[in-house]
């Protein structure tokens, strides 16, 4: 089975050709090693990095941006978003501060991507 995928690891967007032959998966047309990883994962268990916001009390902004520290399974995204929108972040906060630790045992944390003074 051969599938054409567009790599989303970076803005170049290589047009990958992913072939599954039994347990053997081969990835072609990738310009870097991350393309190979993406091609395999997208075929077996698609994952996405999620960026969103949490409410925050600050003079500078009403929402603070956050991200997952890695890609999480697509089917967990909606429950993650619901939890994030309910989580109010207290200032001061630094970029990289953990907002939710090890979400649903994925090994992935949700961290702040902005520093705000108290």
């Amino acid at each position: 089975m051969t599938k054409e995928l567009i790599c989303i690891s970076c803005p170049i967007g290589c047009h990958l050709e992913v072939t599954k032959n039994g347990d053997d998966i081969s990835v072609k047309n990738n310009k870097c090693s991350r393309g190979e990883i993406y091609g395999r994962e997208e075929l077996l268990a698609p994952k996405r990095v999620v960026t969103a916001t949490c409410p925050v009390r600050s003079d500078l902004m009403a929402r603070i941006p956050v991200k997952t520290t890695g890609a999480i399974p697509k089917e967990l995204i909606n429950s993650l978003l619901e939890e994030l929108y309910r989580t109010e972040v207290k200032t001061p906060v630094s970029g990289g501060d953990i907002i939710i630790r090890n979400f649903r045992d994925t090994g992935i944390d949700i961290v702040s991507t902005k520093s705000l003074p108290g």
């Binding site: 567009i6 989303i8 803005p11 967007g13 960026t51 409410p55 941006p65 991200k67």
Partner: protein, 419 residues
């Protein structure tokens, strides 16, 4: 009123302004930044998605993280930063420049400088620019404004959206609106190909099964107080096929229909504008036609990656430094965009150093070639795997690649694409 004397004033504290200012400070010049908003970072602050910094920092950062990398350099340096401050005018003053600015906290400021760096970025085209017929109800936003409302102010622009234009901001907003619970009905693009990066089509539209109508326009907007729906019409051979018009019910229309360099202050100062980019015409040192005024980043031409903005602006910083030190100005030669190229930046090159070019294609092709022709003779060729108008092409012409002997007074270098 306060008078401030510094060597360089950078107008704009976004990615371009911060990179130029940091480089100038690194080279021991006194620098001030004037920023309209209350935060450094510009548009990056509302671009909470990731994908920034892969070239620059070799890692994937979100917009606010990318901004913070530079903001922390600025904060640790002795660069004077004036936030919440707007520049209104650049005037000549002897050998240097006088720049007028205003703010609630500082009052009126007059900067006396040797050089000015324009780094004001760009603004969004709006409904007026694309002339969409229909009523004028609430619920029509530019995509970037909606992004700011959602990501920084925590406000919902609407619940059922149609997005006009497939530029990156529009695509990113399709996913963002979906993730904050809105129903994104469709993206409508007038061109036969998407305007945004391919990766954004994949993860912002395909992941959510949002239809992308290529070669279609929004031909009518309905609603009195609030948007109630739009008509969408296919285009064939440049003509609207009205009998195939269909209706989409929605309460919100987001416009992602291009960006224009924000050059009001530049125009007022008499700076010549390139009609292809809507940014200033610049020489090989990114200096405008007015001596001592330089431009970099989106105010010069709209970039698709912030990494390129930082690179260009840092380079601009080195050129400004050379200018202030009065380094001998070498002869510059003309660059002409040839076939299939919308523009090439800068508009001049020098034979005694490397030249970095950024250019934009007019065509979509796989396996194209970039051809450099000097005085009518082919100089070199470079293979390009894939080109499309939405992906900027960067190219470096090394000093050693230029035969000094063939350069004469009237030499010009033509850059074209062949597919």
């Amino acid at each position: 009123m306060r008078d401030i004397t510094t060597e360089v004033l950078v107008i704009g504290g976004g990615s371009a302004g911060m990179a130029a200012a940091a480089e100038l400070r690194e080279r021991n010049h006194s620098v001030a930044i004037v920023e309209r908003e209350n935060l450094l970072g510009g548009i990056l602050n509302q671009c909470i998605h990731n994908g920034f910094g892969l070239h620059r920092f070799k890692e994937e950062l979100t917009g606010p993280e990318y901004a913070e990398r530079y903001a922390s350099i600025i904060e640790k340096s002795s660069i004077d930063v004036f936030t919440g401050t707007t520049v209104t005018e650049i005037a000549k003053c002897g050998e240097g420049k006088k720049v007028y600015a205003y703010s609630a906290s500082h009052g009126m400021l007059i900067f006396h400088v040797k050089a000015v760096v324009l780094a004001m970025g760009c603004r969004e085209r709006n409904r007026g620019n694309i002339g969409t017929p229909g009523t004028r109800p609430a619920g029509i936003y530019t995509a970037g404004l909606a992004q700011r409302l959602v990501n920084m102010e925590g406000l919902m622009p609407g619940s059922k959206c149609v997005i006009v234009g497939s530029g990156d901001i529009g695509l990113i907003m399709a996913r963002r609106m979906s993730w904050v619970g809105a129903d994104v009905k469709a993206v409508v693009e007038i061109q036969p190909y998407p305007a945004g990066l391919t990766r954004n089509i994949v993860q912002c539209l395909n992941d959510f099964n949002i239809p992308l109508h290529l070669s279609h326009v929004v031909s009518e907007i309905y609603g009195k107080d609030r948007v109630e729906g739009v008509d969408v019409t296919p285009i064939r051979q440049g003509v609207e096929v009205t009998k195939e018009t269909f209706h989409i019910e929605c309460d919100t229309l987001l416009l992602s229909v291009g960006l224009i360099p924000d050059n009001e202050i530049a125009r007022k100062a008499g700076i010549a504008i390139n009609p292809e980019t809507n940014g200033p015409l610049v020489d090989s040192s990114l200096m405008t036609n007015i001596e001592g005024i330089f431009a970099c980043g989106n105010v010069l031409h709209v970039h698709d990656l912030v990494d390129f903005v930082s690179e260009e602006s840092q380079r601009c910083g080195t050129f400004v430094s050379d200018y202030i030190q009065g380094k001998e100005e070498k002869k510059q030669f003309r660059i002409v965009p040839g076939s299939n190229l919308k523009y090439v930046i800068p508009n001049r090159f020098r034979a005694d150093r490397d030249n970095h070019f950024y250019m934009r294609s007019l065509i979509v092709r796989n396996h194209a070639e970039l051809v450099l022709t000097l005085n009518g003779k082919e100089l070199s060729r470079k293979k390009l795997r894939h080109i499309q108008p939405s992906e900027m092409i960067s190219f470096k012409l090394g000093e050693k690649d230029l035969p000094d002997s063939v350069l004469g007074e009237e030499s010009s270098l033509e850059i074209s694409l062949v597919g």
